[in-house]
Symmetry: C2
Subunit: 390 residues, 2 copies
């Protein structure tokens, strides 16, 4: 791009990010190839690579180490060191916390689940998350100083620009917490806080069914219901960070939303409603699980419950698909345990209730969707920082 | 940008569009100012301007004609000729057609309303539109050859990429018509066809209340109901061109949508339902108008009807605002005749039914919204073509 001998700081940074971007796109390259691809002189490339080696961001490898054969003398290749930078994605929920650590290539190098169901005060939760992240990094052999970004997902309405949780009816002592501000000192790197369902839809685009869906909806359906919406590459957060809060879809003749924890719609279709319908009291911490797995296995009584719940769910799914006409709706969360019979029941009840039939799929990401999406958002930030300095 | 002496065709075009873009942004400029702003030499600028003058796109004016005073000798300014290019926006509806003609500056220079209620066959409608556009251009003194783009809005599901009307339950003989293909030979310039409500939201962003609203919804509410949705600068068309078709929101226990012309929601809230509720049979072509104007004037019986309709309408407005959390919802269409009492009734019934209170406004664009939005979309295309050749 821009050649320079003396290389003042800004110019050096631009050249470095140009080289890193080419290596990120193309994989390991020779110095000559880098020179061709960047239009920088061989001499400048050598200088830039040498300073990136010093910073630990790239390294030289032998050509055949990268699985390539050179007909002449063996040439050294330059490659990005994926382990040079890491990101942490955290899912902070009322029952459990999940931490994933990804390297610069997007590979998940460490992961941990924690129990948060007994934490009542925000200080307890923050201390728990801090310890869990440190332990996960240590067990994965990830040096703490390589962590360049942390993203945390949490339920409720999140003012994403400043990382403030405006409203979180499900989380004890979590409403009105300036979460990004509280997490930043724990990690010493940029921290972003985002609504959990918004992160789930990023994960579906990254690792799930939604790779090619332009308008993508991720419906998280467990004890609560919420939707993350991607329009192209843009997360639809809404004017108040409240887009996709379908759990609060009102009952037609019902009372106002009020201050109840559960919204009217999720009260009728959530896993607690499933457990009640089935008189299934086996697992109060994870309600409905027995019924959902029985439905997957073809149990007639459980399938009947599933049918009732699917009919109710379509009363929210129909407006969502009529309004957005999405390319794909991915359903995730606890209900996915019911498997194909759930999809079949939803499609049956949806027939004739929308103008065009939406494509539906069950998420394959399990309970990892939010933490994976958090890691993806963190990687986006690090990639911008490393590869797009200009 | 790029200086050139010999000026091959592409380079000349790039330089011309650069000069046009600066004049479009900044208004009339001296040759020296153009040279400074474009980093093109005085000589190149003189060549470019001379060829643009020849093409009729710019002209020289005296400095004080543009209201500017020069302390030294009077210098000539170069300015865009707004009359050098025109666009036509057409609203093709089942009852009337509306044509607006705008010049390059966005000024509406001609406008006409036509009656389409007696046209039954597509050929009749096409001939009617063709004659109306020609007459409007003639009456406005607009040379036909200056028309650079035509956009037509029509109800129904429109496959915007190819301009095919997939489904138009309201329009006789209009479903499955390749409308752009049929209109193109009538005008001899690029023609785009778009869903009418999608155009209305562009008009609200351009000339209405929605100038600063990032997520903007235009709800057209007359005998039918539909929503146009802008997410930033992107029109949310949907995977099948069916986004925002809220008129088809299903009844909770009602029958499937089927093949009826009206959708379940619009059947309950449209102006025909208003007329039925009020036993107002005065105006079958424009139902409900007597009740709506009576409500605006404070008539108690009409206000009661308005209250019932507002309560029903909120059953669709609540899901829309819960899902999108828009910055602003502008309500347009026939119901706007009820004025402030309509807004008041909607806000009263919406209270407690959404998590965050959406901003509502009544459209000020009257029945011109679709045609204005069509002209705006056509201008976008012409501006891209003239100002962004590079």
């Amino acid at each position: 791009m821009i050649a320079g001998g003396g290389q003042p700081a800004l110019l050096r940074r631009i050249n470095e990010s140009t080289v890193l971007a080419r290596l990120h796109e193309a994989g390991p390259l020779r110095l000559g190839q880098l020179s061709d691809l960047t239009a920088l002189s061989r001499q400048t490339i050598a200088q830039v690579v040498s300073s990136l080696v010093e910073a630990g961001l790239v390294e030289y490898i032998e050509a055949d180490q990268a699985g390539r054969r050179s007909p002449g003398r063996p040439a050294r290749l330059v490659r990005l060191r994926p382990e040079a930078a890491h990101v942490v994605g955290i899912d902070i929920g009322p029952h459990r916390t999940l931490v994933v650590v990804a390297d610069l290539s997007g590979r998940i190098v460490a992961e941990d689940r924690g129990d948060s169901s007994r934490l009542r005060r925000r200080e307890e939760m923050l201390a728990h998350v801090r310890t869990q992240v440190r332990d996960t990094l240590d067990r994965g052999g990830v040096p703490h100083e390589t962590v360049r970004a942390v993203v945390a997902g949490t339920p409720g309405i999140v003012e994403a620009e400043h990382g403030v949780v405006v409203k979180a009816p499900d989380m004890p002592d979590w409403t009105s917490i300036d979460l990004a501000d509280r997490l930043r000192p724990l990690f010493g790197c940029p921290v972003v806080v985002e609504n959990d369902v918004n992160l789930a839809v990023l994960a579906e685009r990254w690792h799930g069914h939604g790779r090619d869906a332009d308008i993508l909806v991720a419906l998280q359906w467990g004890s609560r219901v919420g939707a993350g919406i991607l329009v192209g590459d843009r997360l639809l957060r809404g004017a108040h960070g409240a887009a996709g809060e379908v759990g609060f879809l009102p009952e037609r003749q019902g009372p106002p939303i009020g201050t109840a924890s559960l919204g009217p719609f999720e009260r009728r279709v959530g896993t607690t409603a499933i457990a009640e319908l089935a008189r299934d009291t086996a697992s109060p911490d994870d309600p409905g699980i027995a019924t959902l797995t029985a439905a997957r296995d073809g149990d007639p009584a459980a399938l009947e419950v599933l049918d009732t719940i699917a009919a109710r769910f379509v009363q929210g799914l129909a407006p969502l698909t009529l309004i957005l006409d999405p390319d794909l709706v991915v359903i995730g969360g606890g209900v996915v345990r019911a498997g194909p019979p759930l999809l079949e029941a939803l499609e049956r009840h949806l027939a004739g209730r929308t103008l065009v039939r939406p494509a539906l799929a069950l998420s394959t990401l399990g309970d990892r969707a939010v933490a994976l999406g958090a890691a993806r958002l963190a990687l986006d930030g690090v990639e911008r920082q490393l590869f797009k300095a200009h």
